[in-house]
């Protein structure tokens, strides 16, 4: 770790995958209620937490996030019936993978945040930021492919082509 970074106080970078129907709406509500919560949280809106894959969670941590959480609907409230149940399984599996790798599984969590729970959204954001602060910087941050700070490597394509099937194609990881 560079000296400049060591000198500056550690500010964790937290990624929150929020379901559009519940947690993201709760985030909106938290804003409308003028609630203050940790600015360290980067919210990623997803259609349903059921779409979350362990690869996405691992990749966020590989790319330098200090903590990652998935926020979905309350039990029984999923817009797609069982998306949040799947996400609970996925997060539990990814935690096991993190333990295997040697990274603290506590850096990853699943929360239920109903759409009406603005204060809970803020509470969870603070809770996860505090936890990241307690755990310290993610040791993978120094080798992340993109610098921490939330800047996009390139502008997103407004009309992305359908992803081609990758069978038979080499996926090369440039470091």
């Amino acid at each position: 770790m560079s000296e400049a970074r060591a000198a500056a106080p550690f500010e964790p970078k937290v990624v929150a995958y929020c379901c559009t129907y519940c947690a993201y709406t709760a985030g909106d509500l938290a804003g409308s209620m003028r609630l203050e919560y940790a600015p360290n949280v980067r919210v990623v809106k997803i259609l349903c937490t059921g779409k979350i894959d362990a690869v996405l969670l691992l990749r966020a941590l590989e790319d330098g996030a200090d903590a990652v959480y998935v926020a979905g609907c309350a039990l029984g409230d999923c817009h797609f019936q069982e998306g949040n149940l799947r996400a609970i399984q996925t997060v539990a599996h990814a935690k096991k993978l993190l333990a295997e790798i040697g990274l603290e599984p506590e850096r990853l969590e699943f929360f239920h945040v109903p759409a009406s729970a603005g204060p809970l959204f803020a509470q969870r954001a603070n809770e996860m930021t505090d936890r990241a602060r307690r755990l310290g910087p993610n040791p993978l941050r120094s080798t992340a492919r993109q610098p921490a700070g939330g800047k996009l490597a390139r502008q997103p394509d407004p009309h992305p082509p359908l992803p081609p099937a990758k069978h038979g194609k080499l996926v090369h990881h440039t470091e």
């Binding site: 590989e62 990274l103 040791p139 990758k166 080499l170 990881h173």
Partner: protein
């Protein structure tokens, strides 16, 4: 389909000790369906190995490629232009895939990332169970579509042993007695008469390994080549 599960990461790491350029080759058929070695699982394994090596402060090149099937030569050829760049190939195919890959690229070290379990079916999301042991002589027509070779601990072909216990097996009380299942199924189908037919002793010679089979349509061609 062939059901397999990933080896523990520690074991995979131990195999990869000393290699710096690793190509993980996935298989898009059986092991993709049983969530062990398809494109997605290869991506996950590669991410895990990369993160681990970064945490240990010794970065390695870990690239991925998934082919449609590792048990067909045509798909393995797609790897030809890449394999020279790597020290080792880690295959997430079943045992057959790993061997075929090692045969096709016999100058490369090919390592298995999975433990191959059985030929089975998906009982539910993430749950698979064995249904066939490839005995080469199918008798499912006699047993109401339930295989006593696979499901009966003693491979009995003519009814249950004395150990059947209220529909459970004496070898493992958690498992159903295959012959109770068969009786109930045949009863439902009105085909209990099938139970009166005596099955001849099983020809275990047919199961002798390694098996080899040439489709009839290709037998002449093979003889011609010889």
């Amino acid at each position: 389909m062939i059901v397999a599960k990933r080896k523990p990461l520690e074991q995979i790491e131990a195999m990869l000790e000393g290699f710096n350029k690793i190509l993980i080759v996935g298989c898009g058929t059986c092991v993709a369906v049983c969530m062990a070695g398809g494109e997605k699982e290869v991506e996950l394994l590669a991410a895990e190995l990369r993160m681990r090596s970064k945490l240990q402060g010794r970065p390695r090149t870990i690239d991925e490629m998934t082919v449609t099937r590792q048990c067909d030569k045509e798909y393995l050829d797609q790897l030809a232009k890449h394999v020279a760049d790597y020290d080792v190939i880690l295959s997430t195919g079943c045992g057959a895939g790993v061997q075929f890959l090692a045969e096709r690229y016999d100058d490369k070290i090919v390592l298995p990332a999975l433990n191959t379990l059985f030929i089975g079916v998906a009982e539910g999301p993430g749950i698979w169970s064995q249904r066939c042991m490839a005995c080469s002589e199918c008798i499912l027509d006699q047993t109401g579509g339930i295989c006593p070779m696979t499901l009966c601990a003693k491979n009995l072909l003519n009814g249950p042993c004395g150990g059947t216990n209220h529909g459970k097996c004496e070898v493992d009380g958690q498992k159903d007695c295959a012959w109770t299942l068969i009786y109930r199924r045949l009863e439902k189908l009105g085909r209990l008469d099938l139970l009166e037919k005596i099955q001849p002793p099983k020809d275990y010679g047919a199961m002798t390994k390694p098996g080899r089979f040439t489709h009839e349509a290709f037998q002449q061609a093979e003889q011609h080549e010889e």
